[in-house]
């Protein structure tokens, strides 16, 4: 009776089931990859939006608010180099130089871009009238794409005003 079964049924059924399970695995793997990618994209987007929010507060010089947001960022995403760079910028605006340097050290440990860290240090120095000794240096700071132009120009302006005040006080 067994032999009387149509050839196509048993083996085909067997083959079909085997293919189905392989396809399911493939689909599963593909789905997992897609979900992973979607989560990654969502995280990147969400992370980018959180950073953007802090950058906006910093642009408005709402530095205390920006610092609060960097703490929230840290709780949500863990400690990151970029977060520490933004915290350093807020500290620089608030003229809390020691805290600014500490944040930059932390940023270096957490893998922030060395060029960005170096630029922030340079802005801190510029804000104190240092690093402005030659027009070349000044142009370099102003033209740097590592921070928004207004960040660079503001630090330079603060430094120049400070320098002028010092010159005036030393000459009188």
């Amino acid at each position: 009776m067994r032999n009387s079964l149509p050839d196509s049924l048993a083996p085909r059924g067997f083959r079909f089931t085997e293919m189905n399970s392989r396809a399911r695995i493939r689909t599963g793997v593909l789905l997992a990859i897609l979900i992973g990618l979607a989560i990654y994209a969502w995280r990147q987007d969400s992370w980018g939006r959180d950073l953007g929010k802090i950058e906006n507060w910093l642009a408005m010089r709402a530095d205390r608010r920006a610092l609060k947001e960097t703490l929230a960022l840290e709780q949500k995403w863990g400690r990151t180099g970029d977060g520490h760079v933004l915290a350093a910028r807020a500290m620089r605006h608030l003229e809390r130089d020691d805290s600014c340097r500490e944040e930059l050290n932390r940023a270096a440990v957490r893998g922030a871009s060395p060029a960005v860290i170096a630029h922030e240090s340079r802005l801190l120095a510029a804000q104190h009238g240092q690093a402005l000794s030659s027009p070349y240096e000044l142009d370099e700071i102003l033209a740097s794409p590592l921070a928004p132009f207004s960040e660079n120009a503001d630090a330079v302006m603060i430094g120049l005003i400070r320098e002028k005040e010092e010159v005036r006080s030393n000459s009188s």
Partner: protein, 276 residues
Amino acid sequence: MKLWSAQEPDTFWIDYYAGLISSKTGDEAGALAIYEKAYAIEPQFIPLLMEIGKNYWFVQAPEKAIEYLKRVIEVEPDYDEANSALSQSLASIGRFEEAEAVMRPFIDLADVCSDRARQHGMVLIGLKRYQEAINAMTPSVRAWPQDLELNRQLSECYQLIGDDKQADLYSKAAEKGAVIVESISIRRNRDLKESKQATAIAELGHDIMYFVSRVEGRDILENALAINDRIPQAHRDLATYYLLTGLQERASFHQLKALELENENGNSSVLRATDE
């Protein structure tokens, strides 16, 4: 600035800085006119709102000052200076309850070196809560017994609660302080703007710290030491200040520096810089 406006033609920054420079030269009304131009471009920029608020206060327009300072605090509720300026503006037009409400979250944070106890005292006097005012100001006057305003306000409080003996005590201390404070206003111009002798600045910083304001005194002393860091008394004053504000490390630094310089000097003159 030319480069800046070329780079960003619609920027508010140029007017902001022009206003700042105008304000620094004492032309508050002129500064306000410039700031308003910046404000028309960027009404959210916190330092601009703060500057407009402060300048309205200087030109005796507290209501306008309040308007701008409130906007700062909406975004930056923890901004100490903005809260303090707002509270002061409210108190100046008799809105004591609001002034106290603004101050309340910061009162516990106040140390004996901040000017907040004095401000709080003033607001509580305005609210006729004299005993509370005494309680608020007493720790500060214990740490800084020469402060003119603290002594004046405490004398007033004790007088109003009928304790003439205490009122008299504080009144006498205030009288002594008044003489020094009078000399401070003359020296402030002379020593800070004309003379640039570090020792003269340090002496002024010392008097301001003890008789007028700890925070202002600290800043002037730090400036004096930036010109010449070999003035033992300036280090001593800063050591006291930092000790009372809990900044132990800075206090120790200035304490050691003062001792070192005094040993070099053989204690001859603590106020004189060692190399001036």
